[in-house]
């Protein structure tokens, strides 16, 4: 079993409030308060932050069914290169992950092929069709950590209410992709100044906000934890702020592209700027950052959504939504939230990737407390680097961030005491 000492790093563990320069010990793949026996490996953490292994609770690994875009193996490698020791997969695989055997297949595949911890969600409704409840309890027994119809959104409020009520029986969080189908229609970009100019169908803010409001009401009604995924609009932040102020069990998630880019980029008609929900305006970026700073938004995630080049290289309105994000998300958040906006401390940023998602999903992860799994991410928050998509470990290349400069990144990823990825001289791996 793996023993390890990480010497002289700055340990930041928001779950315990720890923030100090010290050695961190790993004994038999677990965090230990006592040093490992003589002869254990040692690595230097000097000048680095030693954080609990980061968790990305919103990824699409496309397996089963769309392995030309990504697999659990390649997605995990990209995750490790981004500093992630755990990911949570969305159920819009092909076929959708909507029954216990599908869940078991994914977890089994992950055990065989993944270098990191791969968790999965299950669908709220059968076939993600929004019509009848999926076998939620059986999927819980197979190991799902939440339910969601991500990529889709249950439009029938009564059905959603029953699913939310049912999920509570299992202490299960419900994750929602907030999109009102009538208001959004065939919208492909933010409805505003740029959609007016470009003549592309608009996706109005209200299309998201209406469902955020619905979820607040249902969380209040049923007492279940509901998590609003990938929030994009200023109004959603306002609704969430008010509800959380009243103690409603509602949380919100932020993806890096929603604060790094605006709808103006779409004047290029480049489908690498097409995601759902869409890139919005400057005022939305300001509100989202404020939402993070004040603690209204508590979770960061990528919505890593790989697509093949040939699928994206088509007419803008016909291209699929989504971009890859695992290898750039931490860097974007460090660059914008920590360095540029100084919106939050590094401790807070790490909490949003560790203890917060772990708490929401009841994962026994996200801390460096003695006895915890030795999942550790070493971060150099000041390292300046340039992202090159051709070096990506993902199977896909659909990113708008190729060639972009960032400040800060993960430099080593450790799962159960073993290094699964390390920054090499080529900027990828050792």
């Amino acid at each position: 079993m793996s023993n390890l000492t990480i010497q002289g790093g700055k340990i930041i563990d928001p779950a315990t409030g720890r923030n100090e320069v010290a050695d961190l010990y790993v004994v038999d793949g677990k965090i230990s308060s006592a040093p490992p026996p003589e002869g254990a490996a040692a690595i230097s953490g000097e000048g680095l932050v030693v954080a609990p292994g980061l968790i990305d609770m919103h990824v699409h690994f496309r397996e089963p069914g769309q392995t030309h875009k990504e697999t659990i193996a390649t997605g995990s490698q990209a995750a490790a290169a981004g500093g992630f020791t755990s990911v949570v997969c969305m159920p819009n695989t092909s076929p959708p992950t909507d029954d216990p055997s599908g869940v078991a297949w994914i977890l089994d595949r992950a055990r065989q092929t993944a270098s990191i911890n791969v968790f999965t969600t299950g669908a709220i409704t059968r076939s993600l069709a929004g019509e009848e409840m999926a076998p939620i309890g059986s999927m819980v027994q197979s190991g799902i950590v939440a339910i969601t119809d991500d990529g889709h959104c249950v439009q029938n409020h009564e059905l959603m209410r029953r699913a939310v009520e049912y999920a509570r029986m299992f202490d299960l969080a419900v994750l929602d992709h907030c999109q009102d189908y009538y208001l959004v229609g065939n919208g492909v970009m933010h409805e505003g100044h740029w959609s007016t100019i470009l003549g592309l169908p608009g996706w109005p803010r209200a299309g998201e906000e209406l469902m955020v409001m619905r979820n607040i009401l249902l969380a209040e009604l049923c007492g279940t934890r509901i998590h609003c995924q990938h929030l994009s609009s200023a109004g959603s932040v306002r609704l969430l702020r008010n509800a959380r102020g009243r103690g409603v069990a509602i949380t919100g998630e932020l993806c890096p592209h929603h604060i790094a880019l605006t709808d103006k980029t779409i004047s290029s008609f480049d489908a690498n700027y097409k995601m759902n929900p869409p890139l919005r305006a400057e005022e939305d970026i300001d509100a989202l950052i404020e939402g993070v700073a004040e603690g209204t938004i508590t979770i960061l995630a990528s919505d890593h959504a790989p697509h093949a080049v040939f699928e994206k290289e088509v007419e803008f309105d016909q291209a699929p939504f989504g971009i890859v994000g695992l290898e750039t998300e931490l860097a974007i958040f460090l660059t914008i939230l920590l360095h540029r906006e100084k919106a939050i401390s590094l401790d807070q940023l790490i909490a949003m990737y560790t203890v917060n998602p772990a708490h929401l999903l009841r994962l026994r992860k996200g801390t460096l407390r003695p006895g915890a799994d030795a999942d550790i991410t070493l971060i150099d928050p000041n390292l300046e680097w340039v992202y090159r998509k051709e070096k990506s470990l993902s199977r896909s290349r659909n990113t708008p961030f190729d060639g972009k400069e960032f400040k800060g990144r993960a430099v080593r990823t450790i799962v159960a005491g073993k290094t699964v990825w390390e920054l090499g001289a080529d900027g990828v791996r050792a």
Partner: protein, 323 residues
């Protein structure tokens, strides 16, 4: 082509360098004027006995119309004939797009056949830009989704300039379905660049306030613009799309936004009545008005040919010395 060469010489100092015409929004004012000046020269070709010049002899033009169109396609085709180019027409039903080939692959195949110009009509905004970035051939936008229809705007401002002697300072009202209109967007840019005052008129569902952010006025009553308009451009209401969510009925549309004879009486005597066609008689405008003295609807069609000759000529000889 004596007159045309003298007009072209006006801008010899600023050489035309665009191989593509994708949008009016991206054009410099001098480029816009250069096209109009060139079109004036090419217009004379149409009134000759032999309606043909050898300007594009040996060049191949593909009319690639993924979305159906008769009027624009025919206009481009005739423009190409008059420039002595060879023309092939491809429609959505005859192209391999039907068989699942991507737009990119279809276009690369056309290029492999050494086509010089691709005129693209497509239902997706941005499709011509997408192609222009991937092909050596000239790509001319013949209408992309609700984005732009540059040659329509060029023929509209050409017609205004021809009739009124100028565009600058004129009050131009554009009426109807603006939200879904590529004609409206291209017209707005062209008119603004040439110094006109643009007012959009239509139901709030089809003329959202967001248009104010691009520097035009938005009003809700056609009656508000009748007395001040120098030009009134009535856009086609797309009855075939049955946009019941945008206004309740055609009758109600006509009641508020139709140019009836009563309303026309309030227009200035010299006000031009325009329509990009095909017109719905009795809907956008009274049938008699369409045929009346102030209507320049057929001039627009004639001028479309001249404008398209200019565009084809300039883009396909971009960066080369004009002989």
């Amino acid at each position: 082509m004596k007159s045309s060469s003298s007009a072209l010489e006006k801008n010899q100092t600023r050489n035309w360098t665009r191989k593509d015409l994708i949008s009016i929004r991206e054009l410099e004012i001098w480029e816009l004027e250069h096209i109009l000046d060139s079109a004036a020269a090419f217009k004379t070709v149409g009134s000759r006995d032999i309606k043909k010049v050898p300007a594009l002899r040996g060049k191949t033009l593909v009319n690639f119309f993924v979305e159906p169109s008769t009027r624009t396609r025919t206009s481009f085709e005739l423009a190409a004939f008059r420039l002595s180019a060879d023309v092939v027409n491809i429609s959505a039903s005859t192209s391999s797009l039907r068989k699942g080939e991507t737009l990119k692959d279809t276009a690369l195949n056309l290029q492999a056949l050494h086509t010089d110009i691709i005129v693209l009509r497509h239902s997706s905004a941005g499709a011509p830009k997408f192609l222009s970035e991937r092909l050596e051939s000239s790509v001319i936008n013949a209408g992309d989704g609700a984005h732009e229809h540059p040659t329509q705007a060029l023929l509209d401002v050409f017609t205004i300039r021809e009739r009124m002697g100028r565009v600058s300072g004129l009050n131009v009202a554009i009426v109807g379905d603006i939200l879904f209109s590529r004609v409206a967007r291209s017209n707005i840019w062209a008119l603004k660049k040439l110094g006109a005052h643009v007012t959009l008129v239509g139901p709030s569902t089809l003329v959202p306030r967001s248009f104010e952010s691009i520097g035009v006025n938005v009003v809700r009553r056609l009656d508000d613009v009748l007395e001040t308009a120098d030009v009134i451009n009535l856009l086609r209401i797309q009855i075939e799309r049955q946009r019941k969510e945008y206004f309740p009925s055609l009758n109600e549309y006509i009641r508020f936004f139709g140019l009836t004879k009563d309303r026309a009486e309030k227009l200035k005597p010299g006000c031009l009545i325009m329509h990009p066609g095909p017109i719905n008689r009795g809907v956008e405008l009274d049938s008699d008005l369409a045929d009346g003295a102030r209507s320049v609807i057929l001039d627009q069609v004639t001028n479309g040919l001249a404008v398209r000759m200019a565009v084809l000529y300039l883009c396909s000889t971009a960066g080369r010395k004009i002989r």
